[in-house]
Amino acid sequence: MTGTWSRFNIVSIVLGFAFLYLPIVLLVVYSFNESKLVTVWAGFSTRWYGELMRNQGILDAAWVTARVAFISASVATVLGTLAALALTRYTRFRGRVLFTGMVFAPLVMPEVITGLSLLLLFVAVGLDRGFLTVTLAHITFSMCFVAVVVQSRLLTFDRSLEEAAMDLGATPVKTFFQVTLPVILPAIISGWMLAFTLSLDDLVVASFTSGPGATTLPMKIYSQVRLGVTPEINAVCTILIGIVAVGVIAASIINKRREVQRLRDEQAALQEG
């Protein structure tokens, strides 16, 4: 590696990024299109964003999605964290391998199957499909993602921290809330964010488990697109992309800053040594 940009490198990068982002760029560009026809450019306009604000159907769906995502992410985070704790702490219980497998299986399970099986369950127990069922379904499948994220943090967690806390007089419960939880909190937060995003863009499971009055945004978009892509849909999607992009960029900047600060502190401490 000489560090210079060979022609081959440049071409690869351009092609790669084009492949990834060209569709999204097109979508964003056309959301600002004046024309009603999606594929014909007729000048810049924010008209469709205005239209969007008056479209009660989409606004309702967005509100449902936000609530489902928030509630399901929060519950999934609690359950996933507990599962991760159980899996890393009690390494000797019977059936641990089976349990681990069962926690992680939904990660690779086709969504159609997850959705269908949940639907069958809800029908069997006589639960009316709606807000509750879609939330439960989202909890079910995002829980295992949280468990994976938290478990990987717990594997590198220094157990002597907990022993030290107990040694200093903290009961196991106090130890958990005063030492374990604060230390693994970043992982729990990223688990929550992952669960939130998964719920936000889930279409398949939601379609199976949702009912009247609980249409989520992806479902709404999908059903509208079937009637033809409107610039309004482009606008919704652009807003979604904006929210996600801001979230991701903010998170990585905060992380980066913290890391730099940490490195600087450590070097300072070393020099004082």
Binding site: A164, D167, L168, A170, R262, D265
Partner: protein
Amino acid sequence: MKSLGSIRRSFAPWADPAAKPYILFENVTKKFGDFVAVDDLSLSLFEREFFALLGASGCGKSTLLRMLAGFEEPTSGRILLDGQDLRGIPPYRRPVNMMFQSYALFPHMTVEQNIAFGLKQDGMPKPEIAERVGAMLKLVKLEPFAKRKPHQLSGGQRQRVALARSLAKRPKVLLLDEPLGALDKKLREETQFELMDLQQELGLTFVVVTHDQEEAMTMADRIAIMDKGKVKQVATPAEIYEAPNSRFVADFVGSVNLFEGQVSKASNGAMQIASGDLVLKARNGADADTGNTVWFAIRPEKIRVTPQKPEGGDANAMEGEIYDIAYLGDMTIYNVRLDDGRIIKASTMNSARVNENILSWHDRAWISFNSDAGVVLTA
């Protein structure tokens, strides 16, 4: 044998039959599955004692400490602290505190908060906590660092925070798990003395686990040498070094030359040992009857190396050739190959800057030592 006392001359409760042990291990066994970590071990520790558990990794010393702290329960046997059976008492109710090898500082808390943690758990009023934390910071000379987080501290500073935190609750016993293991050599030496001073000043009982014999020798009143879950010998550092009770202990602490042989004559505490072609005169150590196999153990610094055969009646003397020389500055180590092929290690302090009769590689030389310079071992 002349007594090999402790360095703190007046402090020797273990020698006093009336003294009551403060910590008592009674036939303690700890098994992890099939692995026996601690094997039917009994041990008495006394109040205000600085006690070291010394052994290679996996010898059970850390398990012993963890049982005292309450992180492990003995499979069988009892542990008594000040007369109280510790069985079933969880770590957070035991009057002992531990300093962890990794320090286990809480990364999300400042130095101050780390030290205050234990006091808060006890529900101590805030002004008292502040006062105690201030005193601890002063004790370990960390006052300017009170508001820092652990990752903003150097290794030595972290070690002091861990120490302050474990001392803050004024435990009856402080357990130290490899307390100096993570420090570099120079800092380690300084800190050893600081720990000793602190222990004296506070009048606490310290139990330290270490694999570093120098550390144990420097700091401890008594040392227990452990191997495979058993205690091999419990004695003062001087006794451990000068009067080991077995080849294992002799070899584990410091370096030693061992002559295997049969007792050819034994009378009045004096002994003659036939070892190969040599006949060694010995006066210290275990008793053995004529014909028994024994080992004569002698430390390198007790052996003289001279170009000519030394004068004198009592001394053992044997001839050989200089095989290797290691010049260390303060001392020189000679490996001398005896004429029967055995290699004997001898060391000489370089007390003069210039040595008159310099020995060099392949020179003929005599090694000699008095009959009371080594010990006879039967195990």
